[in-house]
Symmetry: C2
Subunit: 327 residues, 2 copies
């Protein structure tokens, strides 16, 4: 039962993990002691978020280790983006059924590529034996008055989303149903497996936004959290929802609103901000070469009202799935 | 594959978790947003550590949920103790095969009892479906020059351990081999299942100690980390190793050194500090009603040399186990 930590296999893993400890001046003591010692910037708040991914639940057992390493960090970076925080440090709790050096190397490659891009250093972790799963905690910093929360939306705010919606959900459907993927289909799968966290957009918009959330469970569900916690409602213009050319090519003119508004795993940002910020948003979108689409307005009446091109009300058939349903 | 977060079952779990969010002024924003916002004290370093426990690997599947909730937090608090840090916040990533309300309630009771005792607030988490495992990350603070690291031991330092050694390992042996436990035996099992993290001792000794570690993998293995990272060695007086009356009653006069020096799961502290600190250590021991035993000395020669009552050298048969052995 009792497990010892220092074994040849773990020494091997630790060698790979050392590649993830990007040097940062604010890491006083990193991996290798009972705990890490970290220096938070003056006048900043510490921002922390944790996410677990379980094999067969959050990812297919045969997903590439590199893609998994990317996504494990990406979903956490997306939470930093949603707060407007600058990411700094991560910890990784990795549970493996066995030590497969090639797998560990691939996982670390995927993790490191993203960590390097955002200057995130791995400062701690725990490696254990068991069914494959991984928990990443991300840490970041944000000035005290600039964090984007879910409870700040105000009546009259514009509602925006970054990027495009539904690509990842279509990627999942393709993975589940298609044997050989075309190049175009593979790009949708990439959106599922290698989401790009909108950290730069979060930082650029944090002084403008009244509220923000990242889209992991679908637009209606996630926007719903903002509205509920802010005590407001919203109307959405469905034809304003941003759809990628890739997704449009697959779906043709027969765009499925219900899928689009409930599509998960996009890891785009949904934000609300006052109409006075429209030009600033356009400037940020140009600067980042990232579509940031105005899709609706915050209203006093609770709930979300969706309208089509002709101004007719449209009602989504369902909002989500049962997390613990037997599959 | 894609999992939605907000379901009736999870709402239930979240109700229980809300009991764990102790109010602290430094929690600007806790559970319920994309990330928590936390205020680190000026002049302090942030101290973080993470540990995963997997069912069937780190605990028996039939362990009480309450004991598991206690231990999940305790092993992390022990890391704070080893740094001399004051714990403040925790996150909990909990993976459950199904939602059993009674189990969740028991788990939260065990977690909350310890969290309240040390004024630790749950500030974030993630609940997922999968094979039972849990990852807790603990956060604390320590003044910049007072953290106890593993790499600070100096030649001539005394070596101390808190509490007693080997109780938890004997508790594990009893659980594995004995059907009905006597009251005395149950007390040893309690030492395994409900370790008391030595947070107060760590804080009281941090200004005196040159180095510290908590004992999770056994005295020789853990002291070995201090010595290796400090570039020194040690000699130990075996008859000074602290043994509880409970353990002595079970083992009689036939004390098994090899078991005692490799016994895991004690979650006591091992510290080194200069001889000038002896009276201060005695005062702390009296104040905390906690044995703090001087068991040896730091020496320049690498390695650990053990001596028995007669001054004869004694060599342990083994130092640890293979983490990934097939059991």
């Amino acid at each position: 039962m009792k497990i010892k930590k220092e074994t040849p296999e773990f020494a091997l893993i630790n060698q790979y993990f050392k590649q993830l400890t990007n040097p940062r001046q604010d890491v006083v003591l990193g991996v290798g002691d009972d705990a890490a010692l970290l220096q938070v910037q003056e006048e900043s708040l510490l921002v922390v978020s944790v996410d677990t991914m379980v094999s067969g639940v959050h990812f297919f057992e045969d997903v590439s280790a590199e893609a998994l390493g990317h996504k494990a960090l990406a979903v956490n970076l997306s939470d930093m983006a949603a707060m407007g925080a600058e990411p700094s440090w991560a910890t990784l709790a990795l549970t493996l059924p066995e030590v497969d050096e090639q797998w560990v190397a691939g996982f670390c490659r995927g993790f490191a590529e993203l960590a390097n891009r955002f200057n995130v250093s791995l400062v701690g972790g725990d490696t254990t034996r068991g069914p494959l799963s991984l928990t990443v905690q991300i840490h970041g910093m944000v000035a005290k008055d600039q964090a984007m929360r879910r409870d700040g939306a105000q009546v009259g705010d514009d509602i925006y989303v970054t990027g495009t919606l539904g690509d990842a959900a279509m990627g999942l459907r393709l993975l589940e149903s298609t044997q050989a993927l075309t190049a175009a289909q593979q790009k949708l799968v990439d959106r599922l497996e290698r989401p790009h966290p909108r950290v730069e957009a979060g930082i650029a918009l944090r002084h403008l936004a009244h509220s923000a959330i990242d889209l992991s469970d679908g637009l209606l569900a996630d926007l719903g959290h903002i509205l509920t916690q802010s005590g407001v409602g919203a109307s959405l213009q469905l034809e304003q929802l941003p759809v990628s050319a890739k997704l449009r090519a697959v779906m043709g003119d027969d765009l499925d609103w219900s899928r689009l508004v409930s599509a998960g795993d996009d890891y785009e940002l949904c934000l609300t901000l006052p109409a006075a910020g429209r030009e600033a948003v356009s400037a940020v979108a140009r600067q980042l070469s990232l579509p940031i689409s105005r899709i609706g307005s915050v209203e006093a009446e609770p709930g979300i009202r969706c309208f089509d091109k002709q101004g007719a009300a449209w009602h989504p058939p369902q909002l989500g799935f049962d997390h613990f349903r037997t599959s």
